[in-house]
Symmetry: none
Subunit: 199 residues, 4 copies
């Protein structure tokens, strides 16, 4: 039965989720195996039983967090047919929710680690590629339906995804200047400009 089979997987998931949460809350540097274990509701030794090393755990945490994001995106896009709505949806999902968005804080740690750890870099590159691919797909989709117009669609995709990232950093670090509405407004108005979308 599925329940049986998933018993181990459930506990493993609990560890990964706990780790992702803790990194998003306190940063990777202060992540203790003991804290992860406590939050996951099991012994320290058992966390090690699932994840031989801390790095392994980080990678799984990233993957887990990203799989969640990807399935959210996929589900959300499926609910929209209008290209502009799809674009808006994508940006809304990707953008930081607000200051100290744990998902984004996790990403900062990923960037810092990727710069130093090859295996993290690999995962990061893969996920980054997926996210930019989604943006490119939405734009192509809009162009096909004549909703968008652009000489270099893939360039516009790069710009919009990078812009969303850059503004999310500002928002997540909460300098107070940028709000989530500002972010969406800036990204989408830039998109309108670059994609020649009629208001």
């Amino acid at each position: 039965m599925a329940q049986r089979r998933s018993k181990g997987a459930e506990r493993e998931l609990a560890v990964v989720t706990a780790a992702a949460e803790l990194i998003g809350e306190q940063g990777l540097a202060s992540l203790r195996m003991a804290d992860v274990a406590e939050r996951a509701g099991m012994s320290v030794g058992h966390v090690t039983y699932y994840f031989p090393s801390k790095t392994e755990l980080l990678i799984r945490a990233i993957r887990q967090s990203e799989e969640q994001f990807q399935s959210d995106v996929t589900a959300a896009l499926a609910r929209h047919i209008d290209p502009w709505s799809r674009l808006v949806t994508l940006v809304e999902l990707a953008a930081a929710e607000g200051p100290r968005d744990p998902g984004w804080l996790l990403w900062f740690e990923v960037w810092a680690s990727a710069a130093v750890d090859e295996s993290v870099a690999e995962v990061q590159a893969q996920l980054e590629g997926w996210w930019r691919g989604q943006m490119a797909d939405v734009i192509s989709y809009g162009i096909e339906r004549s909703a968008f117009r652009a000489d270099h669609p893939e360039r516009v995709g790069s710009v919009l995804s990078a812009l969303t990232d850059g503004l999310s950093v500002q928002l997540a670090l909460g300098d107070g200047t940028t709000t989530r509405d500002d972010l969406l407004d800036l990204v989408l108005s830039t998109a309108r400009d670059l994609l020649k979308v009629a208001r």
Copy 2:
């Protein structure tokens, strides 16, 4: 005499520089006081003499790195009168040099730490503000001279700085897809679009 007075300051600077370099090369997590001391050419004990705590050292390293950036920017901008040249110069200085750009890797660590440490967040906010202010100033300068045209200049400034940041992340993490030329090209062509700059 200046030499007398600066002797201590020089050694202190050596420590800060060493720290900034090491963080850019190996990441903050693996920064050891002993390594800093070695690179700075002094004993561990003496590094502690200057910087009682590791956090203190990190903050000084960020500041130092940023002061360098700021004086570089100021000097470079002074060499240009043409608004577009100033904009190009600013982007060129801010953008990542290429994969594993130590300056940007340091920056990733700052983001990750700022999310967790209030004092780092303060410094980060301050520097982020300065950088966006420079962008805004250059744009205003161009508008004053009728070289640029924009309904919401401050918004364009936000977009261009965030875009530079977002693309620099991609470049610094070296997924290979993005080159420095791509980055400059994307930022500057977006600038042309948004600022209605004639070619």
Copy 3:
């Protein structure tokens, strides 16, 4: 039926054999219950079912290894009537095969453990006694048949067994200087001298 009855014993033997092999290969310090279980083809939990403690397992492994040796010796001696042939056979069976002889490496661990653990010491003493007893018996046997001549036969037995041990250590540790042929040659020529055996 024998098969029924021996099923458990067989599995138990597999564990003991696996342990003896692993100690001979990697040393006692790095002996893991998990490795023993894997090699014995069963789960960790089940190994514990047979051997409640690791020490228990070690003692059984020694005994097992020694019982093997004893039955080999007994069988081999039975094939010879000539006293000198018996002596040669005994030395050949006891001596190390060559560098890293697993049987001897196990023996080193036994010595080290016996020095510290009373129960291991007991087993060791018992087996050491058996081995020297065999040597003494062979010598007495030779004297009875007038093949050997010695004033203090038990002393010669001690010398020959100790000599075999001492040379086996050198051979097993593989300093390269001593070969198995050297070993046999030295022991047997000493035996000839001490037992006045004509060539």
Copy 4:
């Protein structure tokens, strides 16, 4: 001044000595860095400051123990001119003192470790070579002075050193059968036989 210079060396020696003692008393398996530190009168962290790893410490302990042995031997031999006295002296120094002789228990650990760890094997081989070399030298010395007679002096050397080792094992493990007097008696009477020494 020598006192100044040796301050660090003294403390390092204290660690090595403590380790050698503890191994001789309790065995390598139960050697704890904490115990070593305590006996050496310093903190655990400081032991690591001198010896990065436990293996490193073991090797130094062996070396230290052996250097002591070597200088004892050298000094003792110098006090004798008569070849037979030299031989007796050598055997007396090398042979185990009695049951649980810590020096010999340390050797058992060395043998067990050498079988598994290359760096330990190296040291062991070196020291083993030295010891057999001394025996060979004493024999040659006796032959030169016509005190000993042997067709293959180097073979006799091998036999006598191996015999001393083999009997010392028995004595150190304290099966009770063998006493130190027995040991000396057996080795020396064998020597008399093999070297044709007149009583």
